[in-house]
């Protein structure tokens, strides 16, 4: 009898993929059945992810070799290197996997009400499931070409999702820009993979990492990989697609695309710390460059958010700044190495990945609720909504405080770790980051005041609170924000520390594959 537990890594791709292709068929039968089907598929995917996470946290790195009689057997003893596609799941992969499945489920739950009146809902859910499949694949795979394939799946499905509102030409323009830039990034990534394959005759990350020789091809591949994945992750000055895409996509899509962006950020981190993590390379200068780009992201994101009159674009620029905070911590760790404060900076940066998707994600969902109820995005046409949308107001306030890094929310917990560790690299970096965070608070207060406070406006007299499915999605994220904020030690010990440890010890990742043969 097949041990399904052993095949969870493969099922994590197969189940949402099957769900994606069967969704249009079910949609033809019954709309409610389709909605329940999508939620069931994503709940099953999330449940399998939690089981896999438990396994990795208990037993260490999990290997899954596709096509092998024994999935944990990376290569038979007659072959020196692995030739099959291997999924290699460590603490960092699991950390990102949990983000993707939780956000994917909440995006689908929110969508049930949010897009119920749109055309082509079957296609929407199919694309959403494909997007989640792509993210999961990017986070689990230990194979470079496989990573490229999954990044392409996420790019194409995300671009189509951004254009969901087919009656708005701005959505098409944003989707077109996203698709072009994603394709350029992916092609440069493919070129880098070609360089490495030509050099080492292998595509497995662990195998290539163990053979790195610091040749011209290795360095050329490093340039292309960092450039391509930084573009996909929206690091300034390559962030300009983010306000377009996040601002024009439906908020249920925006939160899923945010998770996909973070999957690209994961790729960047994985390549720097694992593929190029051996002692031959001194990535200190790359770390310094990432810190510089992170600071530019923070400053540009915060200052540009202040002048936006469009609600979603303002939050999209705040998302640019939040990417900067993550990479400020991670870049510092890359620059100084895994010493005392380097490890703390890495922990803060990784913790902020989860916090960002919860905090800014909640703001996007609350913004979506405002748009759903009022059909308005302009700050000048909104006001006084707290009288009619009490729950949305509370959720927005929670998201506001968390994203601005106010205690005792989760955003504060990760930001204070970043501030204090980065301070030891250079105090000016910390001061700049803190000032930008204060500016973010000012921006969110401006949005909160403009949208929710003030007298009831005549054009918004008939506004009602949004449907329950949307409220439940926002309530779950709010609950996670509060739990992460009140128990940061528990989250760090159980989720973040294993992820940071996985990045800090590339040898474990490499040896797991190379010594995984018979």
């Amino acid at each position: 009898m097949i041990d399904l537990f052993e095949h969870i890594p493969a099922l994590l791709i197969a189940v949402p993929l099957l769900g994606a292709f069967l969704t249009p068929l079910l949609g033809k039968v019954n709309k409610n059945a389709r909605n329940i089907w999508v939620l069931l598929i994503l709940a099953l995917t999330a449940a399998m992810s939690f089981l896999l996470a438990q396994d990795v946290y208990t037993n260490g790195i999990k290997l899954y070799t596709f096509g092998a009689d024994i999935p944990s057997l990376t290569h038979p003893d007659t072959v020196s290197i692995p030739v099959r596609i291997i999924f290699e799941i460590d603490g960092m992969s699991v950390f990102m996997l949990l983000i993707s499945v939780i956000i994917g489920f909440l995006a689908a739950l929110y969508s049930i009400s949010f897009i119920k009146d749109e055309n082509g809902i079957e296609r929407y859910y199919t694309l959403l499931l494909l997007l989640i499949t792509g993210m999961i694949g990017m986070e689990l795979t230990g194979d470079l070409f496989n990573f490229f394939v999954f990044i392409e799946i996420t790019s194409i499905s995300a671009a189509a999702l951004i254009a969901t509102m087919v009656d708005r030409e701005q959505s098409f323009e944003a989707a077109f820009k996203y698709l072009v830039l994603s394709s350029i990034g992916a092609l440069f990534l493919l070129l880098a993979i070609g360089f490495l394959y030509g050099q080492y005759d292998a595509l497995n990350i662990a195998t290539i990492a163990s053979s790195m020789q610091y040749t011209f091809a290795d360095r050329m591949a490093l340039v292309l990989i960092i450039g391509a994945l930084a573009l996909k992750a929206g690091l300034a000055p390559m962030h300009m697609w983010m306000p377009d895409a996040y601002g024009e996509a439906p908020p249920s899509v925006t939160i899923a695309v945010m998770a996909a962006t973070l999957a690209s950020l994961y790729g960047l981190i994985r390549m720097c710390f694992t593929l190029y993590g051996s002692s031959i390379f001194n990535l200190s200068v790359i770390g310094a460059l990432i810190v510089a780009m992170a600071m530019i992201s923070i400053i540009i994101g915060a200052t540009m958010a202040l002048i936006q009159s469009n609600l979603t674009r303002a939050i999209a620029y705040a998302a640019v700044a939040e990417i900067g905070y993550m990479l400020l911590g991670i870049g510092t760790a890359l620059h100084v190495g895994i010493n005392e404060f380097g490890e703390t900076a890495l922990t803060g940066g990784i913790f902020h990945i989860f916090n960002d998707v919860l905090d800014v994600g909640l703001l996007f969902l609350a913004t979506g609720a405002v748009i759903y109820a009022t059909n308005e995005k302009s700050l000048s046409n909104l006001g006084g909504l707290a009288r009619k949308m009490k729950f949305t107001t509370i959720f927005f306030l929670i998201g506001l405080l968390a994203a601005a890094g106010m205690p005792p929310m989760n955003g504060f917990a990760s930001k204070i770790i970043i501030y204090e560790s980065v301070y030891r690299l250079n105090p000016l970096l910390s001061i700049g980051a803190i000032l930008a965070s204060i500016l973010m608070l000012a921006i969110f207060v401006r949005i909160f005041y403009s949208v929710f406070l003030g007298p009831e406006l005549p054009n918004l007299k008939n506004v009602r609170e949004v449907p329950k499915a949307m409220l439940i999605s926002m309530a779950i994220i709010s609950m996670l924000i509060i739990i992460f904020g009140l128990f940061p030690g528990y989250v760090i010990d159980n989720l973040v520390a294993p992820a940071a440890s996985a990045l800090a010890n590339p040898e474990s990742y490499i040896n797991a594959v190379l010594l995984g043969g018979a």
């Binding site: 200068v285 540009m304 006084g384 770790i417 403009s450 005549p458 940061p488 528990y490």
Partner: protein, 113 residues
Amino acid sequence: MEISISTGSGFWNPIVWLIALLIALLITYAIRSLGRKDYKRGKEQIKPFLSGNAEEDVEKLHTKGDNLYWGFRQSLAGYYKLMQKIHSGDLRDYVVWFVVILVILSFVVFGVM
């Protein structure tokens, strides 16, 4: 369940912070309770006094989002002019920035590392 976290040079404990907040709120409440007791809800005294002028329609009094932080934007007008020029919305400009970063990365990887 572990609550405290180490920040490298200190620690952060949200429960301690919440207790401090609670104490601050209690002190605030105590000070507030020292205030006037003759406040009456629903009477003339709760209406705003605008130097004796009649109060305008409340809808007109609402400051719209676009008008907030006007001074901040004015004082940084030069910076924002540059930023808006950079954020042109033109896809070709986006690609140029990608090429610029690739050039800088090449310089760093081949020239410095």
